[in-house]
């Protein structure tokens, strides 16, 4: 494989590498007919990212003759090629990447100002194909926002925060920090950030849901999104199913697939998930919930998450990942929950799904919301649009 990048695209590639480095330690490089794919997966296999650069992204792109030109390398060594990111645009005129597995050669050549030539011959390993299976179009909810919106949102949470809970209904999205331990909850600072539907370029919510995922991985994507200025799309539905973050333009497609916390004690296939009524009965207290959407602290039993699907704290179910070569492409297929034991978080099961009593009530701001009856109709309807039979390969909804 031989390709040449010029001008500002070099920085785009470097930013992609930087973004991937926030997720995993190894970079999987796979030149394909439809472009160059850079992928990574995190150590617990609960997050996957792929940057696909189409041939048009390059000044010249020569795909490999054989399809087995795949390699992986320590991501730090690729980052070393693109040091001093800020001055990259000004100094680098052209970048050439050559990969020849037979000759054990992976070379990055940077042609810089003043005739300076930087050549990096990196060591690498052969690898199998790394592809995740996910279905963006099959997700119940789709939100698209300018990257600045998400960057500003994430800014409000402390850098040490691991997981964030996102709740969505027809009008808005709530971002909250997720605290595992019950004991910690009473001591921790709870932050809640609300974005109305109007702030999004696209706001399609077919299912009111509340998902919890790792904030660090979202931040990793935002590293790239912010510099590219491309709108970020979020695809998700119920907890446990992976969430997909995506950016696209004419020459580039970026997908981050993140696992979300699921409910333990549920059977692993989607049939039973679908039949389960995830929402508790809607009560009049629903109106009170919106009273506190601006201020951090929430009220006692009344408000809080009574209408939201409970955010349970259970084992993560990572998206299904294919390790072997020759597996299917990323576009179709259903996601299956994997064995909950694999990967990260094992937490004690809550007796009731309800969050513990909160401290005090905030008194400001009324709310403008559809009536509870409207809410429940839509919620029930959305269940039918939901997940199809996991056994069904072509993804058609089950009757």
């Amino acid at each position: 494989m031989d390709c040449i990048l010029i001008g500002s695209n070099v920085k785009v590639l470097a930013k992609a590498v930087q973004s991937l480095s926030r997720l995993g330690e190894e970079l999987y490089l796979e030149p394909q007919e439809n472009g160059l794919a850079l992928r990574t997966v995190n150590s617990s296999r609960s997050a996957y990212a792929c940057f696909l650069f189409s041939p048009l992204f390059f000044q010249k792109y020569t795909p490999p003759k054989s399809s087995t030109q795949r390699c992986k390398m320590v991501i730090k060594s690729v980052q070393a090629v693109f040091k001093s990111l800020s001055s990259l645009e000004k100094t680098v005129e052209k970048c050439r990447i050559e990969l020849d597995i037979e000759k054990s050669r992976l070379t990055f050549t940077l042609h810089c100002k003043h005739g300076l030539l930087k050549t990096h011959n990196l060591s690498f390993q052969d690898s199998e194909s790394l592809q995740a299976v996910f279905d963006k179009e099959g997700c119940a909810n789709t939100l698209t926002a300018q990257p600045k919106l998400l960057v500003d949102t994430v800014l409000h949470f402390p850098p040490s925060l691991e997981e964030v809970r996102v709740s969505v209904n027809d009008e808005r999205v709530l971002f909250r920090n997720h605290v595992e331990d019950e004991a910690e909850q009473s001591k921790a600072m709870m932050t809640e950030f609300c974005l109305s539907a109007e702030e999004f370029d696209r706001f399609v919510v077919n299912m009111h849901t509340c998902i919890t995922f790792c904030l660090k991985e979202l931040r990793g994507l935002l590293v790239f999104a912010e510099s590219s200025g491309l709108p970020v799309s979020l695809y998700f539905d119920e907890p446990g199913r992976p969430m997909v973050l995506s950016l696209t333009d004419s020459v580039l497609e970026v997908n981050f697939v993140l696992a979300t916390l699921s409910e333990e004690g549920q059977p692993r296939n989607h049939n039973s998930n679908m039949r389960r009524v995830s929402e508790p009965p809607i009560t009049d207290d629903f109106m009170n919930d919106d009273v506190d959407y601006i201020i951090a602290m929430e009220a006692g039993e009344l408000a809080g998450d009574s209408d939201w699907p409970e955010p349970p704290r259970h084992a993560l179910t990572p998206p299904r990942l294919h390790g072997a070569a020759g597996d299917q492409q990323e576009s179709s297929g259903e996601c299956e929950d994997e064995d909950g034991q694999q990967g990260a978080v094992e937490t004690p099961v809550e007796e009731s799904g309800r969050p513990p009593n909160k401290k005090f009530r905030s008194l400001f701001f009324g709310s403008v919301l559809p009536t509870p009856s409207q809410m429940s109709n839509r919620t029930l309807q959305s269940q039918e649009v939901l997940a199809s039979d996991s056994e069904d390969e072509d993804g058609s909804p089950s009757p």
């Binding site: 390398m73 320590v74 730090k76 060594s77 070393a80 040091k83 001093s84 100094t91 992976l106 003043h114 005739g115 300076l116 030539l117 930087k118 050549t119 990096h120 011959n121 990196l122 060591s123």
Partner: protein, 317 residues
Amino acid sequence: MPLSTQSDQGDGQYVLVASLDNVRNLSNILKAIAFKDHALFNATPNGLKVTVEDSKCLQANAFIQSEIFQEFTIQEDSVSFQVNLTVLLDCLTIFGGSTVPGVTTALRLCYNGYGYPLKLFLEEGGVVTVCKINTQEPEEPIDFEFCSTNVTNKVILQSDSLREAFSELDMTSEVLQITMSPSQPYFRLSTFGNSGNAHYDYPKDSDMMELFQCTKTQTNRSVTHFFLINKGRFFCHQSSNYNHNHLHGFNSTVIPLSRYKMSLLKPSTKALALSCKVSVRTDSQGFLSLQYLVRNDDGQICFVEYYCCPDEDVEEE
């Protein structure tokens, strides 16, 4: 504020007196060679030369000409002493590092001669600090025998571009290889680290290249060891001219002349940071000379140079 009003028991007693209105003109340049605790000071009527050495393989020199000083009086042809450079720098910067425009720290350096401490008078805004630092027996600096006639290759570069390359060098590499050649690649810095190797090439016609004089490519030196059994005893000879009939065996090792230990060259980046131009020269033995042209606060020129031995740790081929 000059200190001439504060003469100390008459200057006639001192073998060396040097004054500066701005002590930074001395301290900045000394920081560029302060990679070891001890430094050798040698003063002559031409000025001050400060030398720092490391493990007999690396030597750094800073030259501050007498013209830089507001006063430079020396009673002998050559005055030498050794001091703790770290302590000296702490004293020179005793008024802190912040630069308020218009305010400078003045220095008066006085030395009585052999066996006496080095006296420093530092003044800023009317406050005077007196420092006395013990001096030690001056050691003979290494003579690398690096003279202009032995120089095989010479290159003068603008420091900006070399700074960029040095800041990006792969520090997991034990050596830095410097290749200078009349043909491609004209001037190359190479590292061999954990993730692979990297090369930085400067073409001879680059606008960062001020001078390019390379007579021959000098990368390797071949050393052939000959083994003989003579009268029952085992001999090992090292030679390129030998009568092969007597040989019982030989092996050949290739010593790359142009490799230098990264750890030795790392301190030179401080000098590189201060400088505007750098000259890189190698001689027939593979010794490296880096000379840095440094402009001080007042725009005056000083020099710092580094000499480095080639890396002798060889991997048998």
